[in-house]
Symmetry: C2
Subunit: 224 residues, 2 copies
């Protein structure tokens, strides 16, 4: 596991993985629930490989995607408030391996290695900023612009850049995109087709190829 | 200052104020900018008394309220990422006194008192959960329901409960509410009048009196 634990996400001055001892690894198959309202969790998780969708379910059953987490990212941190699983569920989007630490374990490590806490604080602040950006987009943008920003964000977080500047990322179903953007699957399909015809992206069941620079230009031109 | 520093918000198992040494106090008049893009900050702030509005400004100048912070609450935490003031501004909503700590000061305290970091982590996780709830509401609710949830949330955070169960809170202009809910001032005025006629609230330039239980019932009945 040592190789996994030296990867440092560039945006964080402190690297939490440098301060966390290895823990047991758990495996989940595609579609398997890691925690939800009926199987609450009291642990914080780290994705070793794979991808995990965390979402909330409204009273009427409609779902909203909180985020998608992949290798070296944490999720389930509300366990630190004793609140995980109350409104949230985490599901493996593909075959996924995770490590987990219970809250008492994590607190005990923090007491010995306070830099871990600083690193976790920085991650949570970064997430707050991203939530704020999303709230801004949900407040001010139409659906088309929300979808464009969503694709750019996921490509930056989950994608791999090719030589021509395009970014290849995992397949995201139109239903999943609709649950992130806050609209219906049909409307997502409409705009995804429009973006494809405009040459901003290509997609198949295997993945999405996004021409991020062209998409950013489109956002800027629209605003002007 | 000692009396301010012993107040423990009930929702946090750890109290950050128990671990923070006092710092110099800064005063801001109503409407005064604490930090913004042109006067960036490298500190994290604690409200001693008063209220502070933190908001983001879109490229076209429209504003979105991130949140309102009052006594014993922190803001400006993105300074820990070296990012404060990049997109955010903080403005005193009334005469306000704050304490502040620079990032190096805060990190130095955390190294000596790691429980402070655990306390700050819990606050940030609580804020993440509230951002998620707001994203859910922005994704799924119509404007009327968004406004109802906003009023309930602000009454719980900023208000004082009277004997009859109503909650008195500071005046929130319709413009400010519109920048939180993500709509126009005119639409907020329309629904505020409607809620007033329905007996869910009263308001004047001095404050808002919300009948929170009636408003919660209305939300539930609407959903059913």
């Amino acid at each position: 596991m040592a190789t996994t634990l030296v990867a440092v996400p560039e945006r964080y001055p402190e690297d939490p993985l440098a301060h966390l001892p290895c823990s047991r690894i758990w495996e989940y198959g595609k579609g398997q629930v890691i925690y939800n309202q009926h199987q609450p969790s009291s642990s914080i998780y780290l994705v070793i490989d794979g991808a995990v969708k965390v979402c909330r379910t409204a009273d009427d059953g409609r779902q909203v995607i909180v985020d998608i987490y992949h290798t070296d990212e944490f999720f389930g941190e509300c366990a630190l408030l004793g609140a995980t699983g109350r409104d949230e569920q985490a599901v493996a989007l593909k075959n996924t391996r995770v490590m987990s630490w219970t809250c008492p374990e994590l607190e005990e490590i923090v007491m010995r290695r306070p830099r871990l806490a600083v690193a976790l604080l920085q991650i949570l602040i970064q997430r707050s900023i991203e939530f704020e950006q999303r709230i801004e987009s949900l407040s001010l943008d139409n659906i088309e612009r929300r979808l464009a920003r969503t694709l750019i964000r996921f490509s930056e977080r989950l994608g791999q850049k090719a030589e021509d500047g395009s970014v290849e990322m995992m397949a995201l179903t139109h239903e999943l995109l609709s649950q992130y953007v806050g609209t219906s699957r049909e409307i997502i399909t409409h705009y995804m087709n429009q973006f494809r015809r405009g040459g901003y992206l290509r997609y198949s069941r295997k993945g999405i190829l996004l021409y991020g620079d062209a998409m950013r230009d489109w956002l800027r031109q629209q605003a002007a």
